[in-house]
């Protein structure tokens, strides 16, 4: 059977949720084309048993584990060389990795070594009928377009996917639970690059990426003072403030709040876009939200095409009215 590899993303010793999202998608693809799905873990120590069992139930047929001290944190040369050796051994059809700072670095390095194509930040993956090629869809340059890309004559077909783009499996996968140890030879991990220090980010700073409710502001709010009702509403419902690229560029809010292609991809339960017109780069970052509310004065704004509820009107007035109404609910 053909192989599909998902390169696992680690946070410390934990497997990051983005890995499970890719497994969910991999299982979906395997319905259209028989695929053995393997998770590749590069780690400085063996994986915990509950990590491996959650990966199996999350959709992996097989775990390929490569252990070496140099894999403690992502380092370009050991990662790309070891992954290249694993890919050459298995000759998979498809290799997927989360589009994180490490995935977006080792995947190009790996594609270069393997002389194959790579598509960044895919928002859609599918199997083409007939050819069995991987169809990789991503938002493309400037205008309102999505480009579908394939790698017809090179293998593997490689893609990175933003975290929160796909969903993990809802029901546990019945896996054969195969665990394979890959022998990491010293030539693969030789490097003169040294980690000097690591400063972890403090706990408790839940970012826009993990928020359940996001209230995002855009240029339609007209001035920075009009962000006030966004904060007011967000505080009331324990939400998180998001932002379009334009208001981040105008320094109304920090870059950490930016939603979209050059910011974060988010998948909250509720996304409220206030005064956001809906450029394709922004849409790419929030279209998988469960429920989308758009508020805009221009009834032809593109954002309404992607919303479940659309309100045509002044976002400042509407948000304030909404906040008042919710405040009276609290006092009841």
């Amino acid at each position: 059977m053909n192989d599909l590899l998902v390169i696992a993303e680690k946070r410390g010793s934990e497997i990051h949720s983005s890995t499970f999202e890719l497994l969910g998608k991999a299982r979906e693809l395997s319905m259209k084309r028989p695929l053995t799905v393997s998770v590749v873990i590069l780690s400085d120590k063996s994986v915990e048993e509950d990590s491996s069992s959650s990966l199996f139930s999350g959709g992996a047929d097989r775990i390929i584990l490569a252990v070496d001290g140099s894999f403690k944190r992502f380092n370009f040369e050991p990662y790309t060389k070891t992954l290249a050796a694993i890919v050459r051994k298995l000759s998979p059809e498809i290799v997927l990795a989360p589009a994180t700072t490490s995935g977006r670095t080792f995947m190009p390095g790996l594609a270069a070594l393997l002389k194959t194509g790579l598509t960044a930040d895919c928002t859609g993956l599918d199997i083409e009928e007939g050819t069995g090629n991987l169809l990789q869809t991503r938002p493309a340059i400037g205008g309102n377009i999505m480009a579908t890309i394939k790698t017809p004559n090179h293998r593997p077909q490689m893609a990175t996917v933003r975290p929160k783009t796909f969903s993990p499996l809802k029901e546990a996968y019945q896996s054969k639970c195969e665990l394979v140890h890959f022998d990491v030879t010293p030539d693969l991990t030789q490097t003169a690059v040294k980690l000097i220090e690591f400063h972890p980010i403090g706990e408790g700073q839940k970012g826009v990426q993990d928020a359940e409710v996001i209230i995002a502001g855009g240029m339609g709010l007209r001035k920075v003072e009009n962000m006030e009702p966004v904060y007011r509403l967000s505080k009331l419902i324990n939400g998180t403030v998001g932002a379009s690229r334009k208001i981040v560029d105008s320094k109304w809010v920090g870059h950490e709040a930016q939603v979209g292609l050059s910011g974060h991809t988010v998948k909250p339960k509720i996304y409220i876009a206030a005064g956001i017109s809906g450029a394709v780069q922004h849409i790419a970052g929030m279209q998988t939200a469960e429920f989308i509310v758009a508020i805009n004065r221009d009834r032809n704004a593109a954002i309404f095409n992607f919303a479940d509820i659309g309100l045509v009107g002044d976002a400042v007035e509407i948000l304030n009215e909404l906040a008042e109404s919710l405040e009276s609910e609290v006092k009841k």
Binding site: G142, T148, K150, A307, V330
Partner: protein, 265 residues
């Protein structure tokens, strides 16, 4: 020390057209500027140059019109500007672009340090830098937000990642791609602009690079754009306006009530 900066020229407007046949960008007839994120890589190089006996070369791959963009780098202070331009390079994806850049770096090098921007504002893939480094067989550090130290023994950098900040020391040669936090790019000086006006930009084609034609341009690109479409309209929007606005607000309220921080005073 010899430093090479990889530059991409990007359209200076949002009015970009695509070739419907190949799905690649039509760059002819569109004004170009240096990719804004690459200016931070150039600034990094220029600051290093100011500390000693170092030279800064910039290289870009693109149509002849891109010459104006690399000339801008001279105005800012680069010593040498090269444009890889050849009809055979047209339509290259990131892999085929990196092949040409890596070959150039080998032929004109060795360079001690290669700098790149995080990604281009048009394609937004960020792949060409790491691909080039990988092809050259040198270490790569991405998302670099600070150059801590540079000396004969190597370069120490800070990189910002999801769970914190890392400090790494890389030997030379290495490829480093920087984010916009690394510095604030300078503006060209009047003298720099004068100098740039008549500065000979070196044009290099595949006659010089001598790359196997099967590895360059559209022919050499593993990826193909097969379809261009507008994003799917996946939702049926319920619109509220005018006198209905109140109903719309109530509808949102209903969904937000479960999230209220209940106050039990």
């Amino acid at each position: 020390m010899k430093i090479l900066v990889l530059l991409k020229q990007v359209p200076d407007s949002d009015e970009v057209k695509l070739n419907p046949e190949t799905g690649t960008m039509i760059r002819e007839g569109v004004g170009t500027v240096i990719n804004p994120l690459d200016l931070h890589a150039l600034e990094t190089a220029l600051r290093i140059k100011e500390t000693g006996d170092h030279s800064v070369a910039v290289v870009s791959m693109g149509p002849p019109v891109a010459e104006e963009a690399v000339r801008e780098a001279i105005a800012m202070g680069a010593d040498k500007a090269v444009l890889l331009t050849d009809r055979k390079f047209a339509g290259a994806d990131t892999w085929a672009t990196a092949v040409a850049l890596a070959r150039f770096a080998e032929k004109e090098g060795p360079f001690d340090l290669i700098l790149a921007g995080e990604k281009a504002t048009d394609g937004e893939t960020g792949q060409v830098g790491p691909e080039t480094g990988s092809m050259l067989g040198i270490p790569v550090a991405t998302y670099v937000s600070k150059i801590v130290e540079l000396d004969g023994s190597g370069i120490t950098i800070e990189r910002e990642v999801e769970d914190g900040k890392e400090v790494w020391k890389l030997p030379l040669p290495s490829l480093v791609s920087v984010t916009k936090d690394v510095n604030e790019p300078r503006l060209p000086t009047l003298n720099g602009k004068k100098l740039a006006r008549n500065f000979p930009v070196e044009r290099i084609g595949n006659d010089f690079l001598a790359i196997d034609p099967s590895e360059i341009g559209l022919t050499g690109s593993p990826t193909r754009v097969v379809r261009i479409g507008t994003p799917k309209l996946s939702r049926m929007v319920e619109m509220y306006e005018g006198s209905n606005i109140r109903d719309g607000i109530d509808e949102i309220k209903k969904r937000l009530v479960p999230y209220l921080e209940v106050n039990h005073e």
